[in-house]
Structures are given as C-alpha cells and as structure tokens.
Symmetry: C2
Subunit: 301 residues, 2 copies
Amino acid sequence: MCAANAQPLIDPYHSRDVPREEQAPRVDPVVYGKPGDGPLSADQLADFERDGFLFLPSLFSADEVLELQKHAAGLAKKVDPDQDWVIAEPDSRTVRSVFKVHRLDEVFVELAREPRLAGVARQILGSDVSVHQSRINFKPGFRGKEFYWHSDFETWHVEDGMPRPRAVSASIILTPNNEFNGPLMLVPGSHKVYVRCVGETPEDNYKSSLKKQEIGTPSVDALTAMVRDGGIVAPKGEAGSVIFFDCNTMHGSAGNISPFPRNNVFFVYNSLENALTEPFGADKPRPDFLGDRDAPPVGRL
Amino acid sequence: MCAANAQPLIDPYHSRDVPREEQAPRVDPVVYGKPGDGPLSADQLADFERDGFLFLPSLFSADEVLELQKHAAGLAKKVDPDQDWVIAEPDSRTVRSVFKVHRLDEVFVELAREPRLAGVARQILGSDVSVHQSRINFKPGFRGKEFYWHSDFETWHVEDGMPRPRAVSASIILTPNNEFNGPLMLVPGSHKVYVRCVGETPEDNYKSSLKKQEIGTPSVDALTAMVRDGGIVAPKGEAGSVIFFDCNTMHGSAGNISPFPRNNVFFVYNSLENALTEPFGADKPRPDFLGDRDAPPVGRL
C-alpha cells in the first residue's frame, strides 16, 4: 500500500480476526452536523452524541400511525413468506419481519424520505443519506423472542463492508412500548467503544443470525463493564414515537410474554460518504435486503 | 357419596378435564384474618384481597440479605446436582434451583419460621401454616429463562391434591428487581378467577413443567382478558424486599438478558386446614420436594 492511499494501513474496526476480545476506541465522530442543519436542537444533538441514541416521543400522530399500521398489516398479508427477505414462522407461516419495505410500498418509500426521519439522519451524519436496510417487525404478544446484545455496526462492517460507523437507525414504534413487551434496550455511551469480537464468520451467517445472533456479540464481561459504566435505558412511549440510535450503540431486547404486541418500522440511514465496499471480514457480502449495495439517496427513492 | 359428606359433589376447581377452557369464580375467601392477627395493617390486607399480592419493600435488612446470599451460594455449591430436587444446567451443571431449602439449612429453616413471613401467611390464611414448597432460584444475567403465565394453585390442586386456594407464596428477593432482569409480573385481580385449563396431565409432568410449563396454562384469550381488566404489575425494589402473592394469582416472568442476576428464596405457606389429599387430576402426587405431604406447622420445623 502506498502512502498516497488515504486508507489507513490497519482497519480500525477489524473484528472476528483476534485471538481474544479487544475494546478499541471509536475513531470517528458521532455527530457530523450542527443545530441549524436539521430538526434537532443543540441539546438533542448533544444528547445523541453523549448517549448514542435519542428518543422522540409521539413524532408521528395517531392518524399517521393508523395509516402505517394498515399498510404494514397489508404488506404482511401480501408478501410471499418463502422470499428470503420475509421472515415467517416455520409452522404457522405467520410473517414476523418484512425487509426492504422502502422498495415495496409507496407509503414506506414516503416514510423513508420523511424529513422527520431522513432530515434527522442527514443532520446527524452531516451529508445526504441512503437507506442501508429497512424492515417492519411484528413481535407478537405471548411469544415474542428476545434479541441478544449486539452492535449493528460490527456486523455491517464485517459482513456488509460498511467502512465507518457513520450510519443511524430509526425505529418508528407502531405499538406502545412498555416495560412488559420487550422494548428496545440501549446501553448509553456504548457507541464510543468498538468491541472486536472473537469467532470466524460462518458462510451465510445471516441465515442463522437473523434468528439468533451468536457471532459478533460481546462477551458477558465486556457487556457487564459497559452496563456498569452506562446503565441500560429502554425508551417507553406511545405508538408514533421514534428511537434514533447510532450504528455502534449496544442494544438488545427481552422476550415478550405480555399480551401487548410490539411492532415497528425500522430504517437504517447510511451517509452517502460511507458507501459500502467489499466486506471487511466475510467472503461475500450479505444479500441486498440486509445491506443495500446500490442504495440511491433517499430523495431519489 | 352420601349427604353427610362435607365435600361438594363437584370439585369447584376441577381442571384439565374440560373440552374447552372455562372461567370459574373463586368460591373461597382470599383473606381469612384480621388486622390485629399479624403484621399487616387493614389497608395492606385490603390491598392483598383486591390485588392478589402485596409488595413489602426492604422487609429484610442489608445485613440479613448478605447472610442469606452467603448461605444460598454455599448451598448451591454443596448440593449434588443429580438429586431430583436440584435443577442444574445440563452442560455446565451450574445449579439454578434448590428445592426444600427449609429442610436443608438451618438459616432457611429459621427464615421459614420468621414472623415477618410466616406471621403474614398466618394472618392472611387465618390459621397456622406449613411449608408446601420452598426453593432458592438463581437466575443468572444474560441467559435467565422466561417463565410463562400460570396460576400455581391450578397445578397444586390437580397434581398435588391441594383442596382449596388457601395458600400464599413469599418471594424474598436476594438481588434487586429492576425492569431489565425479568422481575416477577403479576396480574392484579386474577386470583379471583379460576381458569379450568384443557389438556390431560402427562405422567411425571413436573419433569418438563419445571423447565417449561405447557399444561395448566391459560389460553392467550383468557390472559388477554385478565390483563385488560387488571393490567400487569412487576414490583421493583432492593434486595430484601418481599412479594407475597395468593396461590391463584396469574404470574410469569420474562427472560433476563441484562447483566443483573435475579436470585430469590421462595416459600409457599399452606393453611393447616388445607392439608393435601390425593391429586384431583393426576394418577400420583408429585414428589415431596414440590408438594410436602407431611409438612409440620412451621413452628415445629
């Protein structure tokens, strides 16, 4: 590699290639934009920078939520459960997740472009953005499964080739989040540490990791230390509230035995200056529905 | 059956013998005693009667909790994980539950006799009491399993031969309960309805039901209606707090992916006027560690 090459000699976010787990500092900024650049105030940007997430209660109105719920349910009925971008229960074929919804339904295309979402992402990331991944999750009451702790960026870097942690997720909750239905739990401050995980990436890892992630998750010691430092926060609120979180924020969710379902729409906005390259730790990139390799700016969706 | 027999012709709490789930009224009182009979005030007794549970924060001091934790950990080390009254993980043989602790360790014998616990039970049940079942639960962080909704009394009646819902459980929490570590969830008011469940009791049902209860649990429709009427409450508090709950109160707990363990000591106090008979819906009673058939009054433990 010659000195003229702008790439560092060593990938600061390499992972799954170390004999022992390591914690590395995040060498990239969290917030790129300023208060005047978008909907967020200086305080909100500072909160996001410090915590790695921001909860905006009732960002969408009850009427808007109703419309989204209707289209989400319609989509779940319409899609073919055998498509790889649809996650269905093996026995009942009930649809649990539909990916790439920003390519499927005009309502979700519009939602992805929505200034209350994309505008926040552009402001945080300091550039125009594209949708790296989108999905609707239907978590039923009584038997909603847990999702173990993970940083999205670790997987997106290693398996999708996302160069830098310059992406932000928006989870639009379509049902109320309460303490009983397994709401998203985040570890404040965890986005500033990058955990290099041990373990090689199996071929087509995504097929099992979408059900239960086992590769690319930190050790219990690392998680314990992160929670000791930052605690855990699980934002609660009405349908229509939105949780924005940094791509490297450690998060997970408990199972749901309550009668209350937990449904959401999920967009990952990536900076256009952070376009995907070859995966940093896998033989081939994951399918497009998990990491869109040809993602246009949201304005041209 | 002759008329002189005091038993009703039809068991008001029959279950697992119906073609369809039924909801039956509880025909027995919840509270038998009066304010002067024990530690609870008139308000506390009224709360217990209405809700089916009562949370007493920090009933035991930090020093007392430390002593209990020490003995609990010592017991977990000392017991043989192959005994049927010890629940251990198949792979690591780490002990998860130890039953009949009121028969094993003087500290837990004393705890069972403790007026702050047994005195409350005697007051609620209006009689002297014995210990129907006792155990210590060690719920680790990160991989604590969920327990699905159930009424204890349904199982104790059908499988152990407990005639009437005249028993109360005390859960002494040895680690703080918070919203993240899968605390006990209770449905207020659910103790006044008896759900007759469908499904026959398999032989030695307890061997699988201790891991995952599938027989004797209400339908999602029944649970949804109960929660619509009563909501869900998950008491939170410091180690040393105690949750008393009626044997027919619907309860469960979510899994625990947080780093915080959730350990407790658990006593079921049964009225001496409610001694076990033959099981009402199983060929043979469960082992003594699950339902003590020869339980002395707590004073003579």
